[in-house]
Amino acid sequence: METLKEKLVETETSTTIRISGAEAVIHCLLAEGVDLMYGYPGGAIMPVYDALYKFQDKLHHVLTRHEQGATHAAQGYARVSGKVGVAMATSGPGATNLVTGIADAQIDSTPMVCITGQVARHLLGTDAFQETDIIGISTPVTKWSYQVTKAADIPVALAKAFYIARSGRPGPVLIDITKNAQVEEFDFSYKKCTAIRSYKPKPEINPTKIGEAAAIINSAKKPFIVFGQGIILGKAEAELKAFIEKAGIPAASTVLGLSALETDHPLYTGMVGMHGNYAPNLMTNECDVLIALGMRFDDRVTGDLSRYAKQAKVIHFEIDPAEVDKNVKTEIAVLGDVKETLSGILPLIDEKKHETWHQEFKDKRAIEFDKVIKNDLFPEKQKLTMGEVIEKINKRTGGDAIVVSDVGQHQMIACRYAKFNQTKSNVTSGGLGTMGFALPAAIGAKMGAPEREVVAIIGDGGYQMTIQELGTIFQTRVPVKIVVLNNDFLGMVRQWQQLFFDRRYASTELINPDFVTIAKGYHIPARRVTERADLDEAIDELIASEEAYFLEVCVEKEDNVFPMIPTGASVTDCRLE
């Protein structure tokens, strides 16, 4: 009997046809259900682009203005649709330009398949034109990568790529295809990959652990839930809600978990982390049982680990065994797909209310409202705040929009104040903190959820890192709504300089161009607002627009984001001013 390294199953395209490797790539993508991809052509990938030409009606390729934009667009698409995003580039600089997006997808567990062209097999290792060892470069930031040097290997490589990218804890996969493999003809048939013997996407569920976890949760006096993106990736939003409602446990989200539970839910207490809400941060060190659901205890969530939830029994629901006890020591690890483990624990959970405990969160919330939120959302000062812009967008969209944010102060403000009614509504670069993420990610998000409103909230710094993607918006006519919150500073770095470096504003002030003129240069309707009196109308115009729209809001230059847990401090040391 043949030794199986992977299991492959027949598909509709299983019939054998003689085609080139390049055409095979397209057939593989179609067989995996890909109808949209992002990329940028170049020498070593030209045969695949040539093959794509024939299939334009079935497989839409969006030409971005930079390969990084292609990856972020693929990420935005994947994050809102739950499908695998696909990005393609040529060898050398095309491939290296993908790396930031790949690293972002790796740390934020986004399913993505990247295809790169490579010099012909006989040129490998000769420092040929546009040759770069992209497998070597991308190894630490991919879930898996593989270099194909002959056409016959293309179907299995891509079948495995899609299976690995989407299964278990998702992530990015890179397939590098030498030019000769694209040109060679071979007998093509496609089989989907359903298993790989060395890869276990999800651990088996241990019912004993579920029972032990339930017993601890049922006897808890002050239980607290922190949920992360695992809920969204695991499609466990309904199970999460059923669990917290039955157990009556206050719940908070990580940055990437946002929108897994609607922000108006009575048991939702806000966001944890460096700029999260006061109550959930403080209560982390007050609870007796901390239930972590599909999250990984990032340092921006925990602050000083030696003073993080030490009093609590930690129960960790997690799909990736390597995350258990990585940062926070758990009492019980409930391994497995969170949808299944939450379904498993629900019948064992006692119905409770925990009203006095929940009241403590509300009291802390009132303090934060008084000291921070009120001034952010309903300012009395003359200058506009980032918070009031988000609040007005909330009012106008009702909380139904997908909010794509970049990285920095505006991101934290967007994550803190955006209203979310439904899941997969928050798209942001969480783990990597990639400035320049939002504009291309918004393109992908709108294409992945065309029926939904997509609003990109971007700072003046990050906007200029991928501003060229306005060209993609213009060419594809994708109706994304772009809001730049302009404070003429790299605001978050400036905030740190103010608080921790004695206001030495080294290289954080930006002399900005006329953003409205730039948008208009791409034929995108644009407007600038500097006065509060004009804000409502401008946001109405932004949201009402049938096409893409650019709105620049000039905000207070030196506002700070609070609450804040300074680096190395404990969650208990959450500062309100």
């Binding site: 009997m1 013997r197 390597a322």
Partner: protein
């Protein structure tokens, strides 16, 4: 407290995997003391034997990260007490010494080393054993002059079972 751990990784035979494995150590600033890759008892399955010093919490996390790699079938860690391990050292010595320095023959005999080859100019001694044994032989030979010295990485088998065959059978039959 740091301890020497022998990490065994059973994997598919894949070109890029060594890179992925070493990157896991590199990222955490853990120095690999020795690394040996060979075929394992199972056809087409490679085995890495990696020796590194760290505390148990670290080695547990490292093994978790190793197992996360797509092509890693299973990884284990063991202390020295839990393994049978050996290293091989080769010493290249001037042939004339073999006849001029009678003591060398005694050293070879007493240390249970073998003479692998004798040529006109040099002869080669092989010694397999624990690190302290090859070190001791080195110390004894140094005064006579060693032309070349090389020591292999550790190879090790565990005292307890590492049930890879069963895992693979399970996959095959599932």
């Amino acid at each position: 407290m740091n301890n020497t751990y022998t990490i065994s990784v059973y994997s598919e035979n894949n070109i890029g995997l060594l890179n992925r494995i070493s990157a896991i150590f590199l990222k955490r600033h853990i120095n690999i003391e020795s690394l040996t890759v060979s075929e394992s008892e199972i056809e087409n399955v490679s085995r890495f034997v990696i020796v590194a010093a760290m505390d148990e919490d670290q080695v547990r996390k490292i093994v978790g990260q190793l197992e996360k790699q797509i092509e890693v079938i299973k990884a284990y860690y063991h202390t020295d007490e839990e393994t049978i391990y050996q290293e091989t050292a080769l010493f290249k010595i001037k042939s004339s010494l073999l006849f001029d320095e009678r003591q060398i023959q005694n050293i070879i005999k007493q240390s249970n080393a073998n003479i692998v080859t004798v040529a006109r100019e040099f002869f080669v001694i092989e010694k397999t054993g624990r690190r302290h044994e090859t070190d001791a032989l080195y110390d004894e030979l140094v005064p006579f002059g060693i032309m070349q010295f090389v020591r292999s990485g550790r190879i090790a088998v565990s005292k307890t079972e590492m049930n890879i065959s069963a895992l693979l059978r399970e996959f095959q039959n599932a």
